[in-house]
Symmetry: C2
Subunit: 223 residues, 2 copies
Amino acid sequence: MDDIILDMDQYLPLRDVVFHALRKAILTGKLKPGERLMEIHLAKQLGVSRTPVREAIHKLELEGLATMIPRRGAQVAQISEKGLKDVLELRRALDVFCAQIACERMTPEEEKELRETCKAFEEATGTKDTTVIAKADVAFHDVIINSTRNERLITTINNLAEQIYRYRFEYIKDDSQHSRLIEEHRRLVDAILNKDPEKAGKAAGIHIDNQEHSILSQINLED
Amino acid sequence: MDDIILDMDQYLPLRDVVFHALRKAILTGKLKPGERLMEIHLAKQLGVSRTPVREAIHKLELEGLATMIPRRGAQVAQISEKGLKDVLELRRALDVFCAQIACERMTPEEEKELRETCKAFEEATGTKDTTVIAKADVAFHDVIINSTRNERLITTINNLAEQIYRYRFEYIKDDSQHSRLIEEHRRLVDAILNKDPEKAGKAAGIHIDNQEHSILSQINLED
DNA sequence: TTAGAGAATATTGTATACAAAGTACAGGAT
DNA sequence: ATCCTGTACTTTGTATACAATATTCTCTAA
């Protein structure tokens, strides 16, 4: 009787619960860049001891969402313009690469998914709901990224995406950009479906370039 | 009198000491893939408590050198052929990218350094001392990578390099390959000094391709 | 009033204790 | 003989205690 598989509710270590909680708080801006992350304080707030909090903070540091100074604690990472440019430059190179190999490796099922998520994004822009739009955008790009079937590439890109998540959010809010985004997505989809790596790479590059311009101009406004 | 700055000997958290110790042990093969990393055991061996050992193991996990299963502890990462191929594919893309932008960004001082480390590598192959050769090779590539001045790119590539360090070692031992390596380095240097991104990218790609073939054939022999 | 020394306080780093889960092995039922 | 089960033991997960360092505040002296 091996078809009755009780997927016994997964055990979640506290450190991971805390990690996800803090991560979400940082990405949504509830914890602001520069804010100190004090262990006892967070531990009390979350109702756990310092140990899992410490471990979560270390994980955040390795992901680049927190910075630590020995004996002085951690704070929410404050990304500089240079740091943001570095992330975007690398992200661009990897996205171009993904688009290129997606042309070779994408299965028919994934091609269908690509068309669907592309359309879903277009529909999402109609809702004016930033969260919905952002999710649709992520879903679309995930199809491309996952089609590479390169685990290391996937985690690396996702980590980079996380770094700019906070800023990208503002960018997606600006609905004057939506028609251009849709156009860029379509171009990318066409190139991939036509198995044209060069065009796909270019389309992916342009897509990130525009994102970069938006984000950087937005950052400069803030100062 | 603020020119008397006692750069008070750096404080090194124990977790980092342990981390470096374990990392070295893994990279040099003293701790073998699949070997269990038990906290109490390692703590006793290193003369510290479990806490810094735990934190070091977590760091190793995030770097991909250890794998953890909740409630069952960690073991030295066992890289699969697929995993190795993934790493190499990504490494290739990033090395090509580095070579390309190095053409634009390399300063005259770095160009000098590039020529010097290239020559130093050629001389190192004469010594037949694997450690010396490996170090010279790393130094050469570091010049290229660092010239991009993209921190994120640099750490990402270094992390990938670390993953294959264990296998690359064997590859460098094979002195029948040395003349080819030297030739490949020279081609890369020429392309960069001539500011020819396309050639530089190609040369870097070929360099990794050959490394990939060597490493993969070597892995297959082991099974 | 301001600068500096020193105590008081807060915070991180490390060690240890206890709880919970996993593993291994022995003994009994089928 | 094999499989199941219960117990002893190991190991990790979390909490807490203590030590070392950083920060803040107060009080004094110039």
